[in-house]
Each structure stands twice: as C-alpha cells, then as structure tokens.
C-alpha cells in the first residue's frame, strides 16, 4: 500500500473536503489502485530521455502587452452566491 489512510486525511484537509470513515477507506483503496496502475510507466526505460515539462512540442507562446475591455461587473458577479458593494461576499475566513 503506497497511500495510507493518514495520507488521504491529509490531502482531504488540504483540499477542504470532509470525508466520512467509509469514504476514507474507499479513497485509500482506489487511490492505491490508480498508483499501482501507473506503476506500469516505471517499466519504460527512460535512461536517455530528457525530463519534459509539457507534452506538446510548443515553446514561447506570448501575448503583446495590450489591454482589452474587461468584463462588465454584473457579469463578473453573476455566478456569485452572495455579493456586497461590487464584491464577492464570502464566509468568515479564520
């Protein structure tokens, strides 16, 4: 087992997810089976392959520093569950 139940709990905290005991068991199992499957990749000989940061053969895609018309504020806030004074309103943080 690569991933312990503690690992799942840790990732759940980082992801702001509340998991039941059942879910924790379940995710421990499924995450491990995913990793085991990915182990397949370790069988490929990569001794003469450079590490890559991107799968497409593209580099240097740039944009000129020219402004566009920003989104109308009504549109920007349209999906917000709550708003106040033109701002997104969120629950108490700490």
């Amino acid at each position: 087992m690569k991933i312990s139940k503690q690992d799942v709990e840790h990732v759940a905290v980082l992801s702001r997810l509340e998991l039941s005991e059942n879910e924790k068991e379940n995710y421990t199992e499924t995450l491990n089976s995913i990793l085991e499957y990915m182990e397949l990749l370790n069988r490929v000989d990569t001794s003469d392959v450079e590490p890559t940061a991107h799968v497409l053969p593209l580099i240097n895609i740039f944009r000129e520093d020219k402004p566009h018309e920003p989104l109308d504020r009504k549109m920007a806030l349209a999906n917000a569950p709550d708003e106040e004074d033109g701002c997104f309103k969120v629950p108490r943080i700490v």
């Binding site: 840790h10 920003p70 700490v94």
Partner: protein, 481 residues
Amino acid sequence: MSQKYETVIGLEIHVELKTATKIFCPCPNEFGGEPNTHVCPVCLGLPGVMPVFNKRVLEFAVKAGLALSCEIASYSKFDRKNYYYPDLPKNYQVSQYDLPICKLGSVEINNNGEVKTIGITRIHMEEDAGKLLHGGATITSSNYSRVDLNRTGVPLIEIVSEPDLRSAEEARAYMEKMKAILEYLDVSDVKMEQGSLRCDANISLRLVGAEKLGTKAEIKNMNSFRSLQRAIEYEVERQTEILDEGGRIVQETRSWDEEKGITVSMRSKEEAHDYRYLPEPDLVPIIVDPKWVNELRASLPELPDARKKRFVKELGLSEYDAGIITGSRALADYFDEVMIKYNDPKTVANWVMGELLRLINAGDMEITENKIKPDQFAALLQLQADGTISGKMAKTVFEEMFATGKGPETIVKEKGMVQISDEGALATLIEKVIAANPRSVEDYKAGKEKAIGFLVGQIMKETKGQANPGVVNKLLIEKMK
C-alpha cells in the same frame, strides 16, 4: 550588549510589475479602480479558459535579473502552487518552482559606509492574488469578507536573497537598494505603502561562530522601510529571550503588528506548507534567446551604483551626497535637470539634500509630487548668485515655491523681497547711520573690528533686511577710512 548570537536574515521581495496588462490575460494592470472592474473569465478562474503569457513580464523579469547579475535560465517554465484561500479564485497560483527565470545573482549594499555583497538565490515570475476586505475591524473579528479580484493576475517577480544579511540595518539597506534598482529599471512603481513592493523576512539566530543555521521564523506584513527594521529588531529580541531562557524557536509564520510593535504567530491548519507544485499544463515552456538577452543587457539604464560613481568622479560630489541623490532615480533625474540650467553641482546638491528633501520628508511625499519645476529651482539659485536676493530670502522663497508651485521671480516681486545691492542707493543710508552712531565709529577706528557688526545691523534694520550685507560691509569700511 555583548554579542552572543549572530542574526541571520534572508528576504523575499515581491514586486508588482508596471505592465499595461496582467500576466496571463489582457485586463488592465492598474492600482485601485472600483472593485471587480479589471477582471475577465481568465483572471476570475472560470472553467475552460486558457492563460496566455504577457511577453513584457518576461522582459521585465530578465531586466531585473541582469541588473542583479543573475544567470538567465535558457529554459524556464511555470508551475501551479496549490492552496485554498478566497483571494485565489483558481485555488492555485501560477508561479515558478524548479526552473525560475533567473538565479545566482548578487547585489552590493552600503550600510552606513560599510559595503557588502548579498547573494540573490533566485527570481521567479508569478501572478498576484486578489484583495480581501473584512467586514469587522480585523480578519478574526469579521463575520464575513468581501473579495475584490482586480489585483488577481497582476504580474509579480519574487526576488529571494541568500541568508546573508546580519542586522535590521543591513536588511533595510538591502531593501532600499532593491527599490532603487527596480525604480531605475522602470519595471515597477516600488511603493511599499501601496503594496507594489512587499517583503517577507526569514529570521533566525545562531551562536556566534556556529555553522548551522538556527530555526527561523518568517515575518510578514511590513509596509514600510521603518516597519521592516522595527519588525526585525523586535523579532531578534524575541528570539534572543527565548534562547537565553533555554527555549526553542518554533518554525512558523508571524505577522508584524505595526500598532503594538510586536510580531504575532499566524498559526493555521495550512501551516504545514504543502503546495503540491505541478507543472502548469496550460502554459508552454519558455526558451530565452541569448541574443535577445544581450539586447536587453545593452538597453539597461545607468544603475544607481554607476551613477553614484559618475557623480563623485565627474561632478566632484562627496560619496555621501552622491549616495543620497542617486538613491532614487526620480531625485537623481531631478538633480540633473536643475544642473542643465544651473551648473554648480555642490550648490545644487546642498539645496536638493537640504531644503528639498527636508520639505519632502516633512510632507511624507514622493519626489515626483514636488511642485517646483527644475528650471524654477535653477532660477532661484541664479537670483541668489547674482545678489538679487540673500541666502536667507532664497530659503523663504523656496518654501513658498514648494507650497504653491509659483516661480521665484513672482514670489520675490509679490513679497517685495528684492535685495538692495546698489551702492548709490545704500550710500545715503550708510552716511546717515554713521552720523547717528559716532560711538561705534570711534570704536571701530580704535581697532574694535566688532563694532562694524552693530552698524551693519542698523542698516539691515532700516532696510527691513533687504540690504545686501556684503555690499553694506564693504561701503562702511570705505567710508570709515
């Protein structure tokens, strides 16, 4: 105080770049603005959008790297730094992890005459987060917060120093030097109060002579040079006390409380830094052309150290004066402009450092907010040089110019401040004063040189201070021969 511990400080500086648009979308990069009016689907982090990198950000980052003698990476990429906070709509910040654009640089600082080289570990590019406005007085007493995403996606460079700084003063000198260099490069507004220049300090202590670094605390939320220095001084004191009592320093992030003058622990669940960096799949790698880097290198402006050397060598200014004037590009440019019209470096330097900086500091202003135009400044010095007004009058006129922006001739005329230097106009008055004060004249003739001071004083009184004291002195001596 005997030195038991050595202070070790490293600084992480965040610099907002002065581009026209944000780093990954064409929203305007402007300070302020009504909340959520500089936003688009990309910087709002809406699903399905694609970021495109602003070339100007790369240019500014490379320029900063070159000015700080860094190696420019031939291959660089972006990564996602994952964390959850309401000011970060995508739940990750696009930053650079293992392949930053610049590394291994250095900068020379001058701490009250002591010159020292500070290592630069790396410079990387990233996006800024939004702003939170809290409902209550503080974040902890608020029931809710408001989120303004105008700042989300504003381009930043983070400059990380080696732990080479040894005192609060050195840290301040380093920060001031960084501000000057970035201002000269014209890549940022570098205003600490507005947050375009921000700084976190990693501080630890170790026994003098020890190799191993002590446990550090990271201090945040210092919004001025003064608070940076105060925060470090406080933190050093706090850690010294703990170590002296045999305690252990806890590795943590602490926030500087300006009002109370203390640092406060910011313990939270996220304290265990686990950002799970991963390569940003929506942005392609950057390969920098060495020819372009050389072009940028050739285009760099004269930097503060070079300008200081030139001011000392070519203008004959003292190291100290040249250091202060070139410490800010705006001030050095202003000095140069006054010099075009009044080519006397020492006099201009004295006025700029004495009168101008005094008034600017008293008003807590920026050089660029100064109302006196360089040619008006030069005209004032000319009026003093040709004897139209005295040195004392010149200072009064200067204050008036600073307050109102009026030209010196206008003020001199309005206040009737013209100095009387005309010998004919003064002769009658001098004869009158000589006739009225035979005692002083006798004293002077008997060898009491001081007696002439009284006579000069009488004439100044008669002319309400407008007589040229030098001319008066000369005429008195002639008449009393």
